[in-house]
């Protein structure tokens, strides 16, 4: 069966420090991968998605970047965190070109920038 792992669960980082959040999927090949951010009162905001290795699309211009170095690995990064980067970050995957497309979510990372 497929599983998705996201870590760390919580993170407190100072302003200006770098960030690396990792997400890995097991039990499937060539998944679509997504990074979402959930800020207070703003719902789920799609940040990045990837349809293959090295293929990253950004939905919102910002201080963050994403990479997909391996088929089932998706990394969210920042060189210098801002206070506004605080929020709850969710990784998700889905099966591409499927009749019954469903998204599966990781446990999320609560990021607090201080």
């Amino acid at each position: 069966s497929q599983t998705i792992h996201q870590w760390p669960a919580t993170l407190v980082q100072p302003v200006g420090s770098p960030l690396s959040l990792e997400c890995t999927v097991e039990g499937t090949s060539n998944p679509n991968l997504y990074w979402y951010r959930q800020a207070a009162g703003r719902g789920l905001q799609l940040l990045f998605y990837s349809v293959g290795i090295g293929q990253i699309s950004s939905e919102v211009p910002q201080n963050l970047s994403a990479s997909r170095p391996q088929d089932r690995q998706f990394i969210l990064s920042s060189k210098k965190l801002l206070l506004s980067d605080s929020g709850f970050y969710l990784c998700a995957w889905s099966v591409p070109f499927s009749l019954y497309t469903e998204a599966f979510f990781g446990q999320g990372t609560r990021l607090t920038v201080v």
Binding site: N32, Y34, G43, L46, E59, L90, S94, E102, A103, F105
Partner: protein, 117 residues
């Protein structure tokens, strides 16, 4: 690109009241529809989903949703809410055979539901 609208951003109800949360989507073709729930301090969980067949879908914890194709709607309902239903609820849409990306998975902005004892 498709979009999803959740009309009520904040809803406050008393226990035992009936609940209906609205969700409308913009895409005119075949869609897969979902409701997710996020309880305080927890991760996103699937409440129910619709792929095809009976437009009335039953999910966990007594929730149900009805797909009305002519209205592009997928409203969530529960006859009698409990205090433990306090959570954030998200409606989502995907398109079959989508290659992925922003058009493959679209969420509404969420409804914050508070149930008062």
């Amino acid at each position: 690109a498709q979009s999803v609208s959740q009309h009520n951003h904040h809803v406050i109800l008393s226990e035992a009241a009936s609940l209906e949360l609205g969700c409308n989507y913009s895409y005119g073709g075949t869609v897969n529809l979902f409701w997710y729930v996020q309880y305080p301090g927890q991760h996103l969980q699937l409440l129910l989903k619709y792929f095809s067949g009976d437009p009335l879908v039953k999910g966990i914890k007594g929730f149900e949703a009805e797909f009305i194709k002519s209205k592009f709607s997928f409203n969530l309902r529960k006859p009698s809410v409990q205090w433990s239903d306090t959570a954030e609820y998200f409606c989502a849409v995907t398109r079959p055979y989508s290659g992925g990306g922003a058009d493959g998975l679209t969420f509404g902005k969420g409804t914050h539901l508070i149930i008062q004892p």
